[in-house]
Symmetry: none
Subunit: 233 residues, 2 copies
DNA sequence: TCAGTAAATTGGTCTAGGCTGTTAGAATGA
DNA sequence: TCATTCTAACAGCCTAGACCAATTTACTGA
């Protein structure tokens, strides 16, 4: 890996937490100890810890130690959350049906958002997602073809983010969401089993890798009566 | 002062920007130079800079310098933001028209959300808000009557949050927002100068004081085609 | 004059420590 | 047994450098 050491350590520490090596509420090893384990200076390790604290994953207590914070549901919203996790949190069974999946030429919007080069192709996926068998949203996800050529359809559709991390060592950083409201077209209405003209919650999300490269543009339309976003400020 | 040096420097730097010593887009002195000016190590100064970068006030460019950023809209969304500030950020002139304003008996929802006692009354305000003379949203705000009895209508409608802080020493803490989509009723449509059935972005916000007491419940319906939320995750 | 190259400047990362204040727990005394 | 005091461990904060990579600036030769 070529990324800075403190980013690598940051990812490793997060992995330890995700893998359950360190559980919620537990104290993680002392800074000096971890610095020694990773063979870096304490300042470097502190940078990694600081990042996790900023993300709300860790919590420092002076004189006591650094602990794994217990994330609230709404805090999950602050991370880049998948539909599956979202449905899980609501106690619903997530499912999805792929409408289309193919390499193609990007739209003007996609070129701009994903900062694509000329002649660069994209992988575009159309999906309808369900919670407890009921259609919740219609989604179009676009990623640069260059990023996913090495992966199988299986690897991309089931858990794209995990595949990126594990197979390509690429880590999602921040994302920008725009949320507005619109009405269902005839086509969307049929996919979502609603009436034409029904209210939809429209979200576009542009996700960036840790190095700042945009890597995924998703346009989602949620059934207004079946879905809501919850944010804590 | 007893606060950490990097916090003191952070405040001083922010002051320089607010006072117009460093203008938007301008380069601020180099890290090494500032570190020398403040007589601290570069690492300490970088902590102060980092905080300002996190707040979106400064912007770093490797090999070039650190610049005063022009704040984007979505950055403002991270705080508890007023409609007026929001419109300001978009370069629009904010205005509002009060539809109704009276003490009344709360609805069941309001009792639950605001944790009202039996027979406790509320102040309910209906408003239409405008940006550049165009209707943007229709809003119903409810606060417990007990909280606002000491204030004039003027104090409440112009700047409720400021009044709370200055006159009652009450500080807003966190808030929870629910965002969904719905269609305009005949009544709402006429207020917002749209057609019945047009898509609306529906937000409810329950705001809490720093001590955890809920103090304001706001139900807002934004014209789908004239407004969007932007979140950065 | 202009293009190409070298040097200086800048932020990014990292080291190997030091000192301070807080905290939990052990030792001590009533 | 209970309360107090002491101590070791901890995170917070800070220093004074180092080297790297990106960018800008200055210089040099055609």
């Amino acid at each position: 890996m070529s990324s800075p050491v403190y980013i690598q350590i940051h990812n490793q520490l997060r992995k330890n937490i995700e893998d359950g090596k360190w559980k919620v509420g537990e104290k993680i090893p002392a800074e000096r100890e971890l610095a020694n384990d990773f063979s870096v200076s304490r300042m470097t390790l502190r940078q990694a810890i600081q990042a996790l604290v900023d993300e709300g994953i860790l919590e420092r207590r002076v004189g006591s130690g650094t602990f794994v914070a217990n994330r609230k549901v709404q805090e999950k919203m602050s991370g880049v959350t998948s539909f599956t996790e979202l449905m899980d949190a609501m106690g619903k069974k997530a499912a999805s049906k792929t409408i289309s999946y193919h390499l193609t030429i990007p739209s003007q919007t996609e070129v701009e958002k994903l900062k694509l080069g000329p002649d660069e192709q994209v992988l575009r996926m159309e999906r309808v997602r369900y919670g407890n068998e009921v259609p919740i949203c219609y989604e179009i996800a676009t990623v640069p073809a260059s990023l996913v050529q090495q992966f199988s359809k299986e690897e991309i559709t089931t858990s794209f983010y995990r595949t990126l991390e594990e197979k390509a060592n690429l880590y999602p950083g921040h994302a920008i969401q725009h949320i507005s409201a619109t009405k269902a077209t005839e086509k969307i209405a049929s996919y979502l089993q609603i009436k034409r003209g029904d209210a939809l919650l429209r979200m576009t999300q542009l996700s960036y890798l840790q190095d700042g490269r945009p890597f995924e543009y998703v346009h989602t339309q949620y059934v207004g009566s079946r879905f809501e976003f919850v944010f804590e400020k």
